[in-house]
């Protein structure tokens, strides 16, 4: 099947995603990832800590762990869809970064992403594919923040590559 042999034009892919996102907006809400990830964090914490997790006010008042939270299933769907695409196009294989600095960058980057999502209540997906198209004030604040952050991150990344 040609779909699994050639790289799809990202403009076509994103246009299709945009149309689907409009349907999602009409049924449950616009595409978002950070909320689902937060709920997964809460569920993982509950698995490890049991009911003691509710002694942490955040998980008791702000974000009580709930496995029926629909946003979790967007992320699970994405990993499944990508796995399907990779297997059918024979692009699935185990790979990993080889240099120590890469692992350090990924660790620091992951921590910053997690802290940033919870501080802002939104991630990059909600910023570009939810809030801004809804013309939410938060979308413009988030776009300004992510552009400034990406600029600083790019500067650090460039310096690391040069060294």
């Amino acid at each position: 099947m040609e779909f699994f042999q050639k790289t799809l034009d990202p403009i076509i892919a994103l246009a299709a995603i945009a149309v689907l996102d409009i349907f999602l907006f009409l049924t449950v809400g616009a595409w978002t990832v950070g909320g689902g990830e937060t709920m997964m964090t809460g569920l993982a914490a509950k698995l490890v800590m049991g009911d003691a997790v509710y002694r942490i006010p955040f998980w008791n008042f702000a974000f009580p762990p709930d496995p029926s939270y629909w946003k979790i299933y967007i992320s699970l769907g994405m990993v499944f869809g990508a796995f399907l695409g990779a297997v059918l196009s024979k692009e699935f294989y185990w790979r990993m970064p080889h240099r120590v600095w890469e692992w350090v960058m990924i660790t620091v980057g992951g921590l910053l992403m997690g802290i940033g999502i919870r501080l802002a209540f939104v991630c990059n997906v909600s910023t570009f594919f939810g809030l801004t198209p809804e013309m939410n004030l938060g979308g413009y604040l988030a776009v300004s923040g992510i552009l400034a952050g990406a600029w600083v991150g790019t500067w650090i990344y460039k310096k690391t590559l040069e060294d």
Binding site: V19, V28, I74, G145
Partner: protein
């Protein structure tokens, strides 16, 4: 919709997105980083097209009172949070979409990034439990809150309610702005390819063996390093 139906709809949407992103190699990080670092716009243009379609679609449905827009107060935390996120996604070489997609392709670096995203969220949950900032969604009022550094809530629906102008009109204005950015990028790409072609033709006259009219070699090497990153 029942909670089960919501979860099924979300899973079908996520699966389709995962498949399309995997096949197209779209990446939100690349949409910003590559534009800043390499002046290449493959992903930026795709993101702009999606934003134009969604702006028109969302504001059209908001005009007639349909759809489920996000509803929470925003404030200084929105800017600072996404600033930290922006640094993090470039360092990790993946955002919230590409971590899941790369994880599905078998990239262990992406699983590691996801693990530490969760760790970061848990650490922030501990900090929030001491400072209670930003305010929890349940305590949000929609009005500005100076003490909490919150600007309140505003979107296309509130604009329509306050001005009496249909939300789609504001959506059209935003779409025109996004289209203007897209056009400027295309024009810049065209100028660059013309300049490269001219330079390539001059170089190939001098020495065919060493000419690299696309200038793709260093960029490819950097991009490969980024791909290995996560």
């Amino acid at each position: 919709m029942t909670p089960v139906a919501e979860c099924v709809a979300a899973f079908i949407f996520g699966t389709t997105v995962g498949l399309l992103v995997q096949r197209s190699r779209y990446c939100n990080v690349a949409a910003l980083r590559d534009a800043m670092l390499f002046k290449t716009y493959r992903n930026t243009k795709a993101m702009l097209v999606a934003m134009m379609i969604m702006t028109l679609g969302f504001t059209a449905f908001i005009t007639i009172g349909s759809g489920k827009p996000m509803h929470f107060d925003v404030g200084l935390n929105t800017f600072i949070g996404l600033f930290l996120f922006g640094i993090g996604m470039v360092l990790a070489g993946a955002c919230t979409v590409s971590t899941w997609v790369k994880a599905g392709e078998g990239n262990l670096g992406a699983w590691w990034a996801l693990l530490f995203t969760f760790v970061g969220m848990f650490l922030f949950s501990l900090l929030w439990s001491f400072v209670y900032w930003p305010p929890a969604p349940a305590t949000m009022t929609g009005a500005p809150n100076v003490a909490g550094l919150q600007f309140g809530f505003a979107n296309a629906a509130t604009l329509q309610a306050k001005t009496g102008i249909p939300a789609i009109a504001f959506g059209l204005v935003q779409t025109v702005v996004l289209a203007a950015i897209y056009r400027a990028i295309v024009r810049r790409e065209r100028q660059r390819s013309q300049a490269n072609a001219a330079a390539g033709s001059a170089e190939s006259t001098a020495c065919d063996a060493w000419a690299d009219p696309s200038g793709a070699a260093p960029q490819g090497a950097m991009a490969r390093a980024a791909d290995q990153g996560a």
